[in-house]
């Protein structure tokens, strides 16, 4: 990061600090019952993620980093506390409203890619658009664009089993950005990849952040991956360090 950039960022921050915060987590507690025992995974956690940030969450197993990510992405609900994303209290949304919100707001990247094996790359990317009113032709055009962005324009009609792990993860990233979400969440996106593919995927995420201004929150335990993020946060025992 150059000095000029840092300066510009600082300036913008001071101009409209509150408006720039995309995610605001306040006093979040998450407990699980397991075998009659209550596990306190998150314990009164506060966190702000600014719009356009690329943040990495790190921490040992069981530190609560994945739980935090799930809460931010609206996959799970906090036991206590509030989560606001883009000015919306998502901890208050009902099951179906939350699903719709996820479809509109979040792009998901999983460790094991989770592409549907019966669909081609293009069809996998089209999937989130089926929930919108976008016309079929337009859906295909957008999905093709997304795949071009991830550098797979020559693999549109391949099935997941015909792709390498790195390519599969790039298709998953294309799927995550196709409906232009406000936030991309990535859970160990390089966990199942070799070094070289991991580098490619991380460069892609970086490019999405820098060039397209996507806000990204990524859980990882790979220091090399965390290095690409603009902010690295560490969790331990349900608290930010």
């Amino acid at each position: 990061m150059t000095a000029a950039e840092t300066k510009a960022e600082t300036k913008a921050e001071s101009k409209a600090e509150a408006a720039e915060v995309l995610i605001s987590v306040r006093g979040v507690v998450k407990t699980y019952e397991r075998g009659g025992e209550t596990l306190r995974v998150l314990d009164g956690l506060d966190l702000d993620v600014k719009k356009g940030a690329f943040e990495a969450l790190m921490g040992p197993s069981g530190s609560g980093k994945s739980t935090l990510l799930n809460l931010i992405a609206g996959l799970d609900r906090p036991t206590a506390g509030t989560i606001t994303v883009g000015g919306k209290r998502i901890d208050e949304l009902g099951e179906s409203a939350l699903a719709k919100w996820r479809g509109d707001t979040i792009g998901f990247v999983f460790q094991s890619f989770n592409l549907l094996p019966v669909l081609t790359a293009l069809e996998n990317v089209t999937l989130p658009l089926l929930l919108t009113r976008v016309a079929a032709k337009e859906r295909e055009a957008r999905a093709t664009t997304a795949l071009r962005i991830v550098g797979l324009e020559d693999r549109l009609h391949h099935y997941p089993r015909q792709l390498s792990g790195g390519q599969e993860q790039r298709v998953a990233i294309a799927r995550a950005i196709v409906n232009d979400p406000a936030l991309i969440v990535a859970d160990e996106p390089t966990g199942d990849l070799d070094r070289k593919s991991a580098e490619d995927v991380l460069s892609l995420l970086e490019r999405l952040n820098k060039q397209l201004g996507k806000t990204i929150v990524m859980v990882t335990h790979d220091p090399a991956a965390a290095e690409r993020a603009s902010i690295v946060r560490r969790l331990d025992k349900g608290q930010l360090q």
């Binding site: 999983f110 019966v118 929930l131």
Partner: protein, 391 residues
């Protein structure tokens, strides 16, 4: 690509399982159609009854006879256009004891006028009427027994015993104007029977009287008027329109019809179990995928639609294959065999298109309902649980 397209693709994912399930559903549909066809064949006689015919029989029993002179009383009654009569002869070819066919002693002048759905050409009828021992047989029966016009045929009767056998000459054959008419009946002169009867009590007796009325809508009322004629005579009668008469026999096969209904329901249960099992297995294997779909914003309803769509698609394929297979198997194979060899029991063994359509719709609907439980279970899974269940 649409959601239902995706559902269809999931079906074809496990080809062995999909093929087996479709096959299982198809066989269930085929069996269902077959059973409904058997039931239909039994009830066909009532369904295809001629509307302007009234049957008069002994009031208390089918097996007892009426005096011959009752026929004239019926003929003179109002609204009666024509009347004839017949006796059940209980005939058997002593050389082919196991072949069952109906043998009737009828009035040679009027029988084929009243039963005009048994079609006889003019020359055959004349030849029959001129020969006191003449007989007209159904074309299906003639073919099966190898009888030709002019052949001498010997029959034994289980009712009208005689020294030696009864001897007949085939005058020709009749065909049917309606599919439901039994083409395996043997008809001969009532006078030949009456002259040959040795037991005095069986002389000048007729089994039943059949008349044609001028107003079919009044058939029931006319029947009541006929019965009044004989109210004070030595034997009372019961007259019914042909439909009621034919369907009154259905009570005697009611147990079989009930059994077939139960078995039909059992088939549906087997089909539902088959479909439900297949879908449940597929859903369990794909739990993670449903988790992904939910994560990227698909709602519970989408997931249900998705799984139900998958199951309905299997039901559709199975139903289609089953119905398509049932036509050649039931109609060409079994139906033809039954009509030719057991025509007396199954003169009309054909699929009712409505039954086939019903079977197809049932396969579809069972496809949809069998998926209900797996679909609900899958849709209620929270996305993070579903995602965690990596196989």
């Amino acid at each position: 690509m649409t959601l239902l397209g995706l559902a269809a693709r999931n079906v074809l994912r496990n080809k062995v399982r999909a093929t087996l399930t479709v096959l299982g559903v198809a066989i269930s549909v085929l069996t269902f159609v077959l059973l409904r066809t058997v039931v239909g064949a039994w009830t066909a006689a009532a369904d295809f009854a001629v509307k302007d015919r009234v049957v008069t029989r002994h009031k208390v029993t089918f097996v007892m006879t009426l005096p011959r002179r009752y026929v004239d009383d019926v003929r003179n009654a109002p609204h009666i256009r024509a009347a004839t009569w017949a006796n059940w002869f209980g005939g058997k070819d002593p050389k082919h004891e196991s072949e069952f066919f109906a043998t009737l002693a009828g009035d040679s002048k009027t029988f084929f006028t009243v039963y005009d759905d048994m079609k006889v050409d003019k020359e055959t009828l004349e030849r029959f009427q001129q020969d006191p021992q003449g007989a007209i047989v159904g074309d299906v029966l003639a073919k099966k027994m190898g009888w030709k016009a002019g052949d001498k045929v010997l029959l034994a009767s289980s009712i009208y015993a005689k020294e030696g056998d009864w001897e007949f000459r085939i005058a020709g054959t009749y065909t049917a104007t309606q599919k439901s008419v039994d083409r395996s009946t043997f008809v001969f002169h009532w006078t030949y029977l009456n002259d040959g009867v040795s037991i005095p009590g069986l002389k000048d007796q007729v089994g039943w009287i059949v008349s044609r009325v001028d107003d079919p809508s009044q058939a029931a009322t006319i029947g009541v008027t006929l019965d009044k004629l004989f109210d004070d005579k030595e034997v009372q009668t019961l007259s019914q329109d042909e439909r009621s008469f034919n369907s009154s026999f259905l009570a005697s096969v009611s147990a079989i019809l009930t059994a077939f209904d139960i078995i039909s329901v059992v088939i549906l249960a087997i089909m539902a179990l088959l479909l439900g099992n297949t879908i449940a297995m597929g859903v369990r294997e794909r739990t993670t995928e449903y988790g992904v779909l939910k994560a990227i914003g698909f709602r519970n309803g989408h997931i249900v639609l998705f799984i139900v769509g998958e199951s309905t698609f299997v039901g559709l394929l199975g139903g289609l294959v089953g119905v398509l297979a049932s036509y050649p198997i039931v109609e060409r194979g079994l139906g033809r065999f039954l009509e030719e060899n057991m025509g007396a029991f199954f003169p009309f063994f054909r699929i009712n298109p409505l039954a086939a359509l019903f079977a197809f719709v049932l396969a579809l609907m069972l496809g949809a309902t069998a998926a209900a439980i797996p679909a609900l279970t899958a849709s209620r899974l929270r996305p993070i649980e579903a995602l965690r269940r990596v196989a």
